[in-house]
């Protein structure tokens, strides 16, 4: 924008229209005609204009050459290139000498290469759908945006028509510059799809990701790191689309944890609630009564739950959220959380959550989100790409003398495996069913040594049972309760010591993938200690 001679408004006297997608074209052409703009057009676009009584100049009259070679040559010409590219100030007399009349607006979009690709068209059909003339016109007009406007997206026609009406047939510099940006994005994204297809065809697969910055965050994971949030351009729905109904701006860590919390409750057929801290669910429950779910998830780690992210996979009602006691006279009784996430909230629930000024209330549309997305890890200018970990188990198979009632335990085991898929490795969970609710009773996460993870899960479970119990014989009570629970490991036990630890705590059923060279030893230890063990056949590392 350093050219001080650039005119602000350009009267649109001549427009070249050559579009593949003819949506909404006629109103634009009619508006242009209204301001005495000459329309130049090609092939199918020209036919459409003719059918609708809009007069135009066939492009051949400008280029002096026919449409040729099965439509491969229509617009590419010295005349059109010059009309788009010449500097209206510097090159005016040269243009006059060469008989070039300026074109002020290009309306163009490209052969639908991507649609053909997605429809599974064969390679030669794809090649025919690589547009050559279109990108040339679009790029030439965009380069000369100081004098020329170029529109590539039918969604922009309405605002252009409005501007034409308001200005009496002109387009402003701001509009031309914004259209220029869109034009170069249109051609860049178009060629990115073509190049990526050719890379694949030649056995050199590539991956091109385009993101739009949605937000500058206050800071990153820590205050000395700057950070931004981006949205993948081609996504139909993204985490970045979440809606903030109430509360402070989201932080970097909030967004990380919200994602973890959403992943933890996604995929449950029943209702689910997760309490997430530092990207690990420290509480998780599944069932039907939402308030009871929240209470059960909260009880998974009532200490860590303070300052956590709480997610639900069902619309949230007021009865549920009063659990937080945000209006308690006694401040200490109020349960402070950072974020609530859900697909929606009743009016009353939202009004109640608004009591806490800073609490972020977030809407995430589970239905709209694309569950097929991949798991991408960027590090050191490299990218690891993998399928998401979505399959829960291969087959549940009893491997011990003591057998488990797999059919009736399947819902609880499935719940526990879902839980372990959300927890950092090495991970151990202890889960139980109580009053129709499936609950994470305790977990051990992120340990180099599996035995420590087992120990953490047992200790947390015991502490939680103790917290909720005031009767006699605490130790007996804990043993009885753990005997009804299931301990699940994300990977096989390398040694039998984990079994000893679990059995000593009262655990009577262990679920693990199996596959260690010491499986026999591990199973023998179960048999010795009267513990049942089920193999799943699938590991669930998550790092």
């Amino acid at each position: 924008m350093n050219n001080t001679h650039t005119p602000s408004d350009i009267s649109i006297r001549r427009t070249l229209i050559s579009v593949s997608n003819k949506t909404e074209l006629l109103p634009l052409a009619q508006a242009l005609t209204q301001y005495d703009c000459e329309i130049i057009s090609t092939g199918g676009t020209a036919r459409l204009l003719k059918e609708n009584g809009i007069s135009f100049t066939p492009i051949q009259e400008i280029t002096g050459s026919p449409e040729a070679f099965g439509g491969r040559m229509k617009t590419l010409s010295f005349q059109i290139g010059s009309a788009l590219l010449y500097d209206r100030e510097r090159d005016a007399s040269e243009a006059a000498t060469l008989g070039i009349t300026p074109i002020d607006l290009v309306v163009c979009n490209l052969y639908p290469f991507q649609e053909k690709l997605e429809s599974g068209a064969d390679f030669s059909t794809l090649i025919e759908h690589i547009d050559i003339g279109g990108p040339t016109m679009i790029r030439a007009a965009a380069k000369n945006y100081q004098y020329v406007a170029v529109v590539t997206d039918p969604n922009d026609y309405a605002s252009l028509i409005e501007e034409l009406h308001q200005s009496g047939g002109a387009l402003s510099l701001a509009t031309r510059k914004s259209l220029m940006q869109q034009a170069f994005n249109h051609t860049a994204d178009y060629d990115a799809v073509i190049a990526t297809k050719m890379d694949q065809e030649l056995g050199k697969p590539s991956l091109r990701l385009t993101f739009d910055q949605i937000q500058t965050l206050r800071y990153g994971e820590n205050a000395h790191q700057t950070a931004q949030l981006y949205r993948e351009r081609t996504a139909t729905y993204a985490l970045a689309d979440l809606e903030v109904l109430h509360g402070k701006a989201l932080s970097f860590n909030n967004i990380l944890d919200i994602n973890g919390a959403i992943e933890a409750v996604r995929g449950f057929e029943a209702g689910a609630c997760a309490v997430v801290k530092h990207n690990n669910p420290c509480g998780l429950a599944s069932g039907s009564d939402q308030r009871e779910l929240l209470a059960a998830a909260w009880a998974g780690d009532p200490i860590s739950a303070f300052g956590s992210i709480v997610a639900f996979n069902r619309p949230v009602n007021k009865d549920t959220v009063t659990f937080f006691r945000l209006d308690a006279a006694n401040r200490a009784a109020r349960k402070f959380i950072e974020v609530v996430v859900a697909p929606s909230y009743s009016e009353e629930a939202l009004a109640y959550l608004r009591i806490h000024k800073n609490l972020r209330v977030i809407v995430y549309d589970f239905e709209a989100s694309n569950q097929a997305f991949k798991d991408l890890r960027y590090m050191d200018s490299s990218l690891l790409v993998q399928d998401k970990d979505e399959k829960l188990y291969d087959k549940l198979k009893s491997v011990t003398k003591k057998t488990a009632a797999i059919a009736s335990l399947r819902p609880l085991i499935t719940f526990g495996i879902r839980a372990i898929c959300s927890i950092k490795s090495n991970a151990i969970v202890i889960v139980r069913e109580k009053d129709g609710i499936l609950q994470l009773l305790g977990m051990g996460a992120g340990q180099p040594n599996r035995l420590i993870a087992t120990k953490l899960a047992i200790e947390k479970s015991k502490a939680n049972l103790q917290q909720a119990y005031s009767g006699p014989d605490l130790e007996g009570y804990i043993q009885t309760e753990l005997a009804k629970a299931v301990l699940i490991s994300d990977a096989f036990f390398p040694f039998a010591d984990n079994v000893e630890l679990a059995a000593a705590a009262g655990i009577r059923l262990i679920v693990q993938p199996g596959g260690s060279i010491r499986d026999k030893e591990v199973i023998a230890k179960c048999d010795d200690l009267d513990v049942a063990m089920i193999f799943t056949g699938l590991r669930h590392f998550r790092h």
Copy 2:
């Protein structure tokens, strides 16, 4: 490749040369002339050919139009477009009627938009460096690759010359197709840079990342997930560039852990060794004697160290690696690890490591790697981008009655903060200096509750001290040793309970960021228990 009529070899009878980068052009032009190929050329390229006595046809003779508008119009024309695009079979008679002679080869690369951008050129200069005619020719030739070859990279000239010589002046279909793929990549990458710049200019920042698939991995994080490794196209050095000198193919988890191990030893001025398990360093040491470093890092968690990834930031010698006892007659004495990473290995060290058939021996070039890369987290079609966490502390400040000798402790504290930056939050480390080596004595990682992390770090430290001690009064020894160590927290203590726990174990110096609303309470507890505390002013969350 479905067109069965596509000729394999195309004799190059006419070549259009129009290059911005003139590197290595003359030998190619000379080779073409040798096979009676007519050269058509433009502007500066034509001048170069003329100066070197290579005959050519000025492009104006083909187009019938002058180079016009300050060079904006050179090649764009019906004649050139047709010569590149027409189907040599289907359209032959139409071309003859229209007087179009085919062009068989295009040698073209584009105005250096990116170089101008990097040099800080102003916006109008950048606009002038958007090439319009070049991409048109390149894309037209690429679309018609069945008959036309297009070369955009001077690095490809040598192999083209060789092919011309071997075939007597022709280029094969395989070559043309491969050049086509490169051509569409050239224009896609070119427009990606332009579009990204325009997005920024219009206040709508975007991020475009292009990755090339380097490898299909056997599977992902778990066996039921497929996975691939990609390399960022514009990187000068990437994790994906690591060299495997020996051993089995790397797995997905190996690559994750290798990155973690590299990050753990990167940035130390002295030598460093990390032992990584599940993406957390369970052992870390810094100093000069490499074998002692390895021993000290290994001692950080001698149980978890089995099956770990071990990284060094210095060339590795044989004395160091014999620590693994790979040749021990007693198999149980051999220390099994998955991967060793280092900038290089002495021949003897490498020969020794080769004893273990499956051990992966990896070279990573710390010097070549770009430490300025960003931290990117992709999730659910969104991307969080932040600066890497590279600043260690703001200021080391004693906040307790008992003061610490900050000057002499600075190396140990700095070491400990580096360690905590590599460990998942909530994280606590206990570090010490022994015989000139800085060592991670124990750590607690990935806990929702900081108190549990503190407990884990203390328990691991005690176990490690016990492991190495055979004298009397173990408890007294542990207290004495922990009194010389430093406990560091990645984030502030929310309550004074962590201080109580640490003091009870014998810890006399705690380092933490500070910044809690209960700092006063925490400091008072230190004063009560005769513990010194240092605030750093910087948190180091890592999730």
